[in-house]
Every structure is written in structure tokens, then in C-alpha cells.
Amino acid sequence: MSMVDRIDLTPPSPRLNAPILMLGLAALLILGRAWLPEGLPAGLMRLPEALVVPFADWINAAFAFLRDDLGLMEVTRAFAAMLEWLLDVTANILYGKNRWPRLGPLPWSVVAISMAALGWWLGGWRLAVLAGGTFVWIAVMGQWQWAMETLSVIVVAAPFSVFAGLILGIAAWRWKGVQRILNPILNVAQSLPHFAYMIPVVVFIGVGPKAGAIVTIIFSVPPMIRMTELGLRKVPEEVVEAGRMGGATPWQLLTRVRLPTARGDILIGVNQVIMQCLAMVVLASFIGMPGLGQKLLQLLQALKIGLSVEIGITIVLIAVVLDRLSRAWAKRQPLHHALGLSWARRHPVLLIWAVAVVLAFALSQLFPLLAQVPRREALSIAAPVDMLVDWLIRLVDPVTTWLRWFLITWVLIPLRDAILWLPFSAVLIAVAAAGWAVGGWRSALVMLGFIGAIALSGWWDRAMITVYMVGFSVFLAALIGFPLGIWAAGSETRANRMLLICDSLQTFPSFIYLIPVVMLFGVNDVAVVMAVVTFAAVPLVRYTIEGLRGVAPELIEAAHMSGTTRRQMLWHVQLPMAAPVMLVGVNQSVMFSLFMVIIAAFIGTQDLGQELQRALSVSDVGKGLVLGLAVAFMGLAVDHLLRQMSERMRQGGGA
């Protein structure tokens, strides 16, 4: 861009100066707020009450209409009933809930063996040990019932999501119109906080497992739609044409050529569905979903650290196992068998599995401990963990107490006060200016639209508190994440190891991050910020590494040849080239923070999250959706801004 500007000899058009003018105007408003004796007119400080649009009432009216007049309630209840039936069946099989088909619970040993066999088949003995070991741990720690409650929902919800996602994804790929409608919906859906999904469901279904299952289904569909569409678009044109020349009808082309060829991407979609399901099932404890999440919530609120660590480990293990298994499935490439092998030699895993399962069934008849581990006989690591944690806390207490005091009195409270002190008009103009600077008047309008809508909703103050928490957390996360990423990118092995850690951390349900911070900081703003910082640093590290490692080697060699020092290399070659990718990391980091801040609200913040949870507890759909959309709009605004920036950087060759 700068080149173009310099060559352009016509007097600079007013368009170029618009952002600066707008920033000036915002600064004037702020100065006016500071120095005018009677302050700014009230209308510039906050949106006048009269102008607040009662979005919530409208939404409530719409919902009432849907529910009562259109009889949608009947439909949803019918669907919920079918779901409940399925949930009961899996619940009976997995943990012996007294429902049809009354086959009683599968012995835990059978489940563990089956998971190990699955792991072996998909990814070799390491995965077998991981998958089998996880289920042994669950049984031995006496968490079988809770874990199976959680898993039974995933078992039912994930196939629904996959199926719905597949159909919608195909439709979006096939018809431009569908894609045009779906795309913005998906954008919003993927930036809506988890809780915003729960409220409408609670209204229609009530609380409990089936509500949890429905929320889980809705929440996990979007990535499946995206990946299906993407996969179908990526099918090489020649493969399709080969299909055409083979005389395939359009239907044959879809089912025999396109879908099988897009298998890898579609299965990555399945992986994401499963992970989203797990994240949501854990959180659905807020709407009365029994299972690991509910247990964790209770234990955390009671500050029982040792027991919550136990549950936390289980959730993490399940997350890792589900992720690795589904990824291995996606990556699995067919291999040919040597000619003339017998059936048994071709399917050794299946055979061994069958034998082992029969054996396990028989043995668990003899030794009941192999069928069920009662709570009394279960192991627990809670006591030693508690001791360790107590010792640790006593050790670091001076530091954390000081940190807590320092952060709250010198950073968090002043920051919060400052951001609340700002006139909303100045913020709006500044935001629009930022949009203009990166993407012209269109972006300015987009930004104004997103942030202006929040002002119109009347939740400005709460939104600003969310902004300050997210902003400060991402700032801290950047202080940690960027240097860490740069350090890790320095060597191949370090980079790979760090990427592996990041991958694992990203699969954990966000809820898990609360355990250590509550342990260290107790229940307050600092704990929330710390949880968000940890959660948000992960994508920053990850994309910094990927960005730096993605710089073309020829470029680095060329720079070496012109005699750059290490430092010059980093600042003048690598970082500028990696910047667009790193911005993607920042973007994700902001999204993650928004989600986390909202989830962490039950620790006691005063932002949108707290209000969302209040709305949830009284099932106020209108309010809940408005708050959720407010969060989504913040995310989308940042997303738009960073995307434009990254785009410009790429086009400017990284400068």
C-alpha cells in the first residue's frame, strides 16, 4: 500500500484521512468528558434509555408465537421423546439405568477391552494402551457411572449431528442459495457462547439429559457442515470427470465418487463434532445434565480440589482418547492385504477382541470387581493431591496473594473503571475508525453495525466489562504466548513438542482450565483472568510457531547470505512474514477468551456472562439470546478487523 501512496501524486483524498479525523473526534469526546466542567451531554455518555431497542421482548414474543401458536412445542417435545428413548437405551447398556432393553450394564472390563481393540485397530498399540488405560482408570477411580452418563449423551448426540451436518453440508455445496443463507448463520453460531444455546432449549424442553443432548446436537453441527462442504469442494476435478466419463449419474457421482473421496475432511468434521459434543456435555451440567461435568461443577463450587482434579484428569483423558481415535480414523488409509490370507489373518484385531470380550464376560461373572467397581472399593488420589496442593499453595501463597492484590487494586479495577468511564460515543467512533483504517468505509460500517447493536441492546456497561477482561487477558496471553512461540520455533524438535502440547491443550473442554486457577487464586476476577490467559495463550503459541516455521527457507537462506544477524532475521524477515498467520492466532485467542470469560462467570464476574447465567436460571430466552448475540458480535467484530488486517498483510507481501 505504501508504495502506491507514494507514487500517487494527486492530493490525498479525504478518504485516506477519515480514520485520523474520526480518531481525533473520539479523542475530543474523551477530552470533553475529562475537562468540561459539566461533563459531556448524557446522550453522548451512554445511549439514552429511550433509544434502547427492546430486542429481548421481541425475541420473547417471537418465541412465544413459535411455541404456543405454531405448536412447535409439540414437534420439539416429540423429537425430545425419541431422543430420550435412545438415551435410555444407551444409559441402560452403559451404566445399567433401569430402562428398556434392561440388559444391565456392560462390565467395565468389556468396555475397556473394546476401546483398546478400537485403539489398536485405528492406531497401533500406543493408542490401544491409551484408550484401554483410560477406561481402566475411570473404573478403578469409581467414576464409571458419571463417565458413562457423559458418554451416553455423546453416543446419541454425535451421530445426529454428523447426519444433520452431512445433509446441510451437501445442500450448501450443491445450492448456492443454501450456502449464502447458511454461511452467516454459521458465522454467528460458531461465535455464540455455549450458554446462549442452552436457554432456548430449556424453554422448549426443560432441564435434564434430553435438554443436554439437544443442546449438544445443535452446538456441534456447524463444524460438520463446514467440513462436509469444504471436503466436497476439494474433490479434484479430474476424479469427478473420471466419474462422469465412467457414466455415473449425478446421484452415483455424489455417493460413489465425491463423498468417498472427501472422506478425510468429512471425518475431520466427525472429530470436531465429537470434541464439541464433549465440551458441551460437560457444560450442560448447568442445565441439569448429570455426569462428569455436574460432579466437577459441584466439587469446584465446594472448593474440593483433590476430587475435582480426579474428575479433571478423567475428562482430559476422555478428551484425548476421543480426539486421537477419531483423528486416527480420519487419517487411516486403506492398505491391501497380501493374496490368499485367511479371514482370521486378515482381521486379527477383530478375532482377538471377540475372544477377549467373551473371556471378560465370563470372568466378570466370577469376579464381580471386573464388572463393577463400587465406590467403597474404588481408589482415590484425592487425599495425596489435596496434601500436595495444600503444600504447594502454602509455598506460593505469598506470591499469589500479592499478585491477586496487585492485579485487583492496580490493574483490574483501574482498568475497569477507565473503560466504564469512556463515553460510548467515543468508543463507537474509535471502533469505526479502526475499521476504516484496515478496510475502508465498508469495514467501518461493519464494525459500527456490530458494536452499535450492542449499544442499542442496552447492555453497554456489562459488555465493556467483558471487553476489559478479554482485552487484558489476551494482552497477558500475548506477553506469554509470543515469546514462547518464538522460542519454540527455534528448533524443529522443540516446535513439534510444543505443537503437540498445544494440540492436546486445545482438545480439553474449557471447563478444565478452571481447576488449577481456582486452586491457586480462589474464586474471584483474578482466577478468571488467569484461566482465560492460559486458555487464550494456546492458539497464540501455536500460530506463532506455525507462522515462523512456514516462512520459506529460500527467503531465510537469502537473508543469511546478505549477512543478517539472528535478531535482524527475526525482526526483519521472519516476524513480518509470519505476521498474517500470527494474526489468525490472535483472532482465535480472542474467540477463546470470550468463550472462557463467559463460562468462568459462575466464579463471579459482573460481565455479560453473569447476566447470561442469570437469564439461564430463569429461562429468559430473549435476554439470553440478546446477551449471547452481544458476545458473538464482539467476536465477529474482532474477527472482521483481524481478517482484514491479515489479508492486507498477505497482499502487501507481509510488510
Binding site: 470427470e241 466419474g243 465412467g246 488409509q333 486403506p334 492398505l335 492385504h337
Partner: protein
Amino acid sequence: MTDAIQTPVPVISCRNVWKVFGPRPEVALAAMKADRDARPEGHVTAVRDVSLDIMPGEMLVVMGLSGSGKSTLVRCLSRLNEITAGEILIEGQDIGRLNEAGLIELRRRKMGMVFQSFGLLPNRNALENVAFPLEMRGQPRAARIERAREMLALVGLKGRESYFPRELSGGQQQRIGIARSLAVEPDIWFLDEPFSALDPLIRREMQDEFLRLKGMLKKTIIFITHDFDEALRLADRIAIMKDGRVEQIDTPDRIVLQPATDYVARFTAEIDRARVLHVAGLAGPVAGRAIDGPALPGGQTLRDLARRLVNDSRDWIPVADGTGRITGMLERARALDILLGDAA
């Protein structure tokens, strides 16, 4: 159809075929028809007013620089691309008028195509890939597996039936592509740069393989290549394309000896004529000259006969056709000029 047997009709016949890519092809086409040199903004004319006939059993090689429209022309012939204007007749039937079912039927019964980057289905093994077109037309499983096995054996992949494309080399993958295109016993066989993704050694091997198949199968073949040597080894006739136009369509000898345009002349300037020109094509009439000594076989190229031509001492050497009948006389000096590369 009975008199079709007596007077051979072309298998494929193009009449003034145009293919314009862009937002408004018809408008662009009208502009170009009105003014030959028009270049409508935002449109690419990949095929420009092409008319040609291809006879049964003939092998036509299409050549031209990258972007000259070779692939597009062939894709129009199989209606992977809809043409903008003109008509294409396959065995007298206008394929532009076929409905979807008719088109699918035509492809299932009459056409096979081999693609430059193979276009194999990654999730099917070699056997299932070859059986794919048979599966599409609903052939029972046992029969189609049997046929696919035969085809794989034909292209020399016996024993690799259960391998997946990923597990095979480029040359082997292209053999699967060839086997697949032949599985339905097509009358018309399209090959779009089938060997250009392969390294030179394997390419050579595949060309030999192809010649063997070609001799065995007697199909009408349209073959695209960038490689003149390949074209010369294979072609009955060569079509040279430039900017969507067919500059010349003729036998290899005539393309080299009598280029229709400057472009064709430049296009063929670099190649070694001795390898192209057949003795029969170069020979003049006997015109009363004395015929003595052994005759040269007319079907061979100068390069094939190089040693004999150098060692011979006659100024004029008789040339015979396959049956041994003398068809003309070759001037040795001229042949040596061409052979040594200093022909005018």
C-alpha cells in the same frame, strides 16, 4: 445405418465448434464472428471455429502449446464441456441434443477417457477402480470383477489388484487409468496427455505398451500430447492447435514437408525431419529412371534407413510399398541432406 458400412462415415465430426469461457459467452461469440480479430474482455476462447472429421480406427494426435485449447477440444467431444456454438456428431448423432440420460448412456457404451493426473478414486483399490464404470452401469459384481481382472492383466498389473492407488507408482497408476477407460470396451478412446506426468523411462515403456494395445484393440483414438516424438511414434494424423484454432490437420509427413501456416512451420522447425519423413513420402515418380538393385521399404523413416542410405552408391534408389511393388524413386542426395540436417 446399412450404407454406413459401405461408405465409412466419420466416427466424430465437428462442425464449426466454438467454446468461449467467460461470463457472457454468446455475446463474446457474436462479437468475434462479426470481427475476426475481436478479443472480448474477460472471455477466453479456448476452441475457435474448429471443424474436423475422425474416421473409424484412426488415431488423431492433437498438439499445441500450453493453453492452446487441446484439452478443451477433447472435453467438448466428450461433452464434459458444453460447446458455445457449432455441432458435434458422434456416429451421426448430435451430442449437444442428448439429454442427461442419453449422455450417460453414450459415455457408458461408447467412450473411454484417460486423464493426465489419472483421476483415480483414492479409496478404491486397483480392481475396484477399473470396475467403476461397469459398476455405474449396473453390471453384477462377479461379472465386473472378472472383467476388471482381465483388463488389469492386459495392462500388465496382474497381482496388484488389491493395491490402492497410493501404494502404486505413477506409471502403474496410469495403467489403472488406462484399464479403467478400456473396461467398457469403448469405440472412442480419449487420452489427455496420459504420459506427461511420468518420468522419461516409464513414459517410453508406457508408449510401447500403448502401441501394443492400439494394435490389438483397433479403436478410434484422440490423443493429446506435448511431445512431438510421442506424436510421431503414434499418429495417423496430427492436428496442430494455436489459440483455439486448428492450424493444420494432416499426416506427420505432410505437416513437416508442407506446413500450412508459418506457425506450423515454426512449430516443426526444431524437430529432426529424418525421424518423421517416410521414404515413400519423399520419393518422386519413377519418371523413366532405371530401376536396379534392392528397393527401400516405403513405410520406414529416413532415420531407420540411415545406414543403408549412407552406404548406398546409387543417385536414385527405388522405393517399394509393403507388397514389394515399386512406387517411386528417392534422390539420395536429398535424403542425405535431410538426414544430416542441412536441408533447406
